[in-house]
């Protein structure tokens, strides 16, 4: 029995240190896909790696062996022993796997629900699977295309995606309520995260030109600084920068405060009390919450930002119910399609058999009926084709109807027996049904 399996870890199941180990090398995706291609247990596969999640999606007939292989793959990619990360892994199978993929693509499983980047990342992962290693097949192709469709539906039919956009939008609105003009203000980005970059991009669109980026990995800081035409600095320089900058967006993975109360307090007089606006997107927090008590210092963390846009909580609840409903709807559709996969071989062999009979009979008749005009031959051809099609039309319809029901196997059996398809069919659906 073919299974769709999804194995991986995300921001909820695993700490960032662990996720980083897996996402460390850029060519990890290629290595994973190559390994999928070589594995005898994996039929089709896809590998997704972002800063918030690492997932393998594959189809297999031998789930147990495939799972062992997948854990082995994760271990090789992260250079960690298996027992160090297995508690952080989640494994979804079949319907749950489909649902999970749909939820991830629609950004319902994101740290910030509705953030738009994940869809692009999935598309990229799919593109790699299709183009490079050619690890995707009928099921994965269909699954991914449906996932893109679901994401689009949820984006247009619900207002769930507004949340993420509105969080960074709210941050910009706040900046506008604190500062007279944004043009002459300076932004410091500490750490790299999708939401932080989104907020920074919003600020860029609203006239801020000066950006400074600090990050634990200096290479990454340089990389981000380039996208904002800013400069990169070491984390140690932050304290000195507090005198210069006006808006600080922090999103490091640090478990301790990156910005302390005393640091901020001391810099205020030197700044002549010019306002400081902290946007703390990190979980756990980067900025000591007490700085909000200081005059002319304003601190908003992710919950505060969520809080101010969650004016209408009932609406948000309704929207997320709607989104889940769309997911369920699409999961059911996909499941139905998967089930028709089981009956497809029978239908094909039925059609093949009828077509073979028809061809044989036409040939026989034609050899007996010499001297027919081409148009007469054509008429005979089309007569037999439509006759054959009409005869098997209803049986095929019944089979398709039965696709999702428990009586499916019985019907398949009957069809096979009635039309004597056994020998042909067995070989075609060797996967079992």
């Amino acid at each position: 029995m073919m299974k769709i399996v999804n194995i991986g870890m995300n921001h909820e199941s695993a700490p960032i240190e662990l996720r980083e180990c897996l996402a460390r090398d850029k060519d990890n995706i290629d290595r994973a896909l190559a390994s999928m291609r070589e594995s005898q247990w994996i039929h089709e596969g896809l590998f997704l790696s972002t800063c918030n999640r690492i997932e393998a999606i594959y189809t297999t007939e031998s789930a147990v062996e495939a799972e062992k292989w997948a854990i082995g793959l994760f271990s090789r990619l992260s250079h960690l022993p298996e027992e160090q990360f297995t508690p952080n892994l989640y494994i979804h199978e079949d319907i749950e796997a489909i649902r999970h993929v749909f939820r991830v693509a629609s950004s319902l499983d994101s740290m910030i629900v509705g953030e738009p980047q994940i869809l692009g990342q999935i598309k990229e992962a799919y593109h790699k699977a299709v183009a490079k290693e050619k690890t995707s097949g009928v099921i994965i192709n269909r699954l991914m295309h449906r996932a893109f469709h679901v994401a689009k539906r949820i984006r247009t039919e619900t207002r769930i995606a507004e949340a993420a956009v509105s969080i960074s939008y709210a941050a910009v609105e706040l900046a506008k309520k604190i500062f007279y003009e944004l043009n002459d203000k300076k932004v410091l980005l500490i750490g790299a995260g999708e939401m932080a970059e989104l907020a920074a991009r919003h600020l860029l669109n609203h006239g801020i030109e000066s950006f400074v980026v600090a990050n634990r990995s200096f290479e990454k800081a340089v990389q981000i600084a380039e996208t904002f035409h800013g400069k990169a600095v070491f984390l140690e320089e932050i304290e000195a920068l507090l005198l210069e900058v006006d808006i600080i967006i922090s999103s490091t993975a640090s478990t301790e405060y990156v910005i302390h109360y005393e640091q901020v307090k001391q810099c205020l007089r030197k700044r002549r009390n010019r306002p400081l606006f902290f946007i703390d997107i990190a979980v756990p927090r980067d900025v000591d919450p007490r700085v909000n008590e200081l005059g002319n210092v304003y601190l908003y963390d992710i919950d505060d930002l969520k809080g101010i846009i969650e004016v209408n909580t009932t609406l948000r609840k309704q929207e997320s119910i709607k989104a889940e409903r769309i997911i369920t709807e699409e999961v059911i559709r996909f499941k139905r399609w998967l089930e028709t996969l089981d009956i497809v071989p029978t239908i094909i062999s039925l059609k093949d058999k009828v077509e073979a009979i028809r061809k044989a009979e036409v040939k026989k008749s034609l050899s007996g009926l010499r001297g027919l005009t081409p148009s007469q031959e054509k008429a005979m051809e089309s007569l037999t084709v439509s006759l054959a099609e009409k005869i098997i039309h209803d049986p095929i319809l019944v089979l398709k109807e039965r696709a999702g029901r428990s009586s499916k196997d019985a019907y398949l059996d009957i069809v096979k027996k009635l039309f004597k398809l056994d020998d042909v069919v067995d070989e075609r659906i060797s996967n079992g049904s």
Binding site: K177, F179, Y180, R274, P275, N296, Y298
Partner: protein, 279 residues
């Protein structure tokens, strides 16, 4: 005809104030534009009425409580029009116009009386003294309104409860700079007003300083504003603290104005000025 001007001005100020309040709630630019135009027309009528009064009395139209309140309202509206021109801050009108309207309502509630204007009051020094003091006071009223707006907005941002004012009020930096500029502009007027007052006193009473309660309170007011301005300019006070202090200063100023004019003072009281039981 001219006699109707104060009434027309009063009526138009009330209409404009109503418009500004509706604008605060509805946030429609059209309402603001109309209110602004009406206030502008009111200001013109008010000016004409005051000029008429000045010509009639031959003294500054601020020698009875009725005329003083009206004059103060005129100064505040004038200061507002200047700030509106400079800052283009529509919501400021919604805070300033009611203040002017309240002054006008009190003023119009006081019955009109014929004053026998004493000749000592018909002095250019006095006119300059009163004029500059009230222009300064009007600037401080703007600073006060901006400080109130600042505190409302700051509270919403700090407490993260964004109520209906959050959208309507401008940025903290804008409010802070309005407060800043109205202090900077208002302070010289107050200073000039006090100096001319002293000169006038020397001119008619023979001494610059007589330890009159209103003089003392005026000095306290002046010193408070001087401290606030110094802290702002030299030390870099800003935001909430500066707003709170400027509100406190304005409370002292109002106390000086009302207390000094009504109960405390000797020759600064309207009683002394007009001799009509303080009115």
């Amino acid at each position: 005809m001219v006699g109707l001007f104060p009434n027309i001005a009063f009526f138009l100020i009330l209409v404009a104030t109503g418009g500004f309040v509706v604008f605060l709630i509805k946030q429609q630019q059209k309402i603001f534009q109309w209110s602004y135009i009406i206030l502008l027309i009111a200001f013109v009528f008010h000016t004409l009425a005051l000029v008429h009064q000045y010509l009639l009395w031959g003294a500054a139209p601020a020698i009875s409580l009725k005329s003083t309140l009206s004059f103060f309202a005129w100064c505040i509206i004038g200061a507002y029009l200047v700030f509106q021109y400079k800052f283009k801050l529509m919501v400021l009108g919604s805070f300033i116009a009611p203040l002017a309207a309240v002054l006008m309502i009190i003023s119009s509630a006081i019955p009109k009386m014929d004053l026998a204007v004493r000749t000592v009051l018909k002095s250019t020094w006095l006119t300059v003294h009163i004029g500059t003091i009230f222009i300064g006071d009007a600037m401080f009223a703007i600073a006060f309104a901006a400080a109130i707006m600042y505190l409302i907005q700051e509270r919403q941002i700090k407490r993260k409860t964004h109520g209906s004012f959050y959208k309507r009020l401008p940025s903290l930096e804008t409010l802070d700079s309005i407060n800043h500029y109205s202090l900077i502009y208002g302070f010289p007027f107050l200073t000039v007003g006090m100096i001319t007052g002293a000169i006038y006193a020397q001119y008619i009473l023979g001494s610059y300083w007589r330890w009159d309660p209103k003089e003392i309170w005026s000095l306290i007011t002046w010193l408070s504003y001087a401290v606030l301005l110094h802290e702002r300019l030299a030390v870099g006070w800003r935001g909430r603290r500066a707003a709170v202090i400027s509100i406190a200063c304005f409370v002292i100023l109002i106390f000086t104005f009302i207390g000094g004019s009504m109960w405390l003072s000797d020759y600064h009281s309207f009683k002394a000025l007009g001799g009509h039981a303080g009115l």
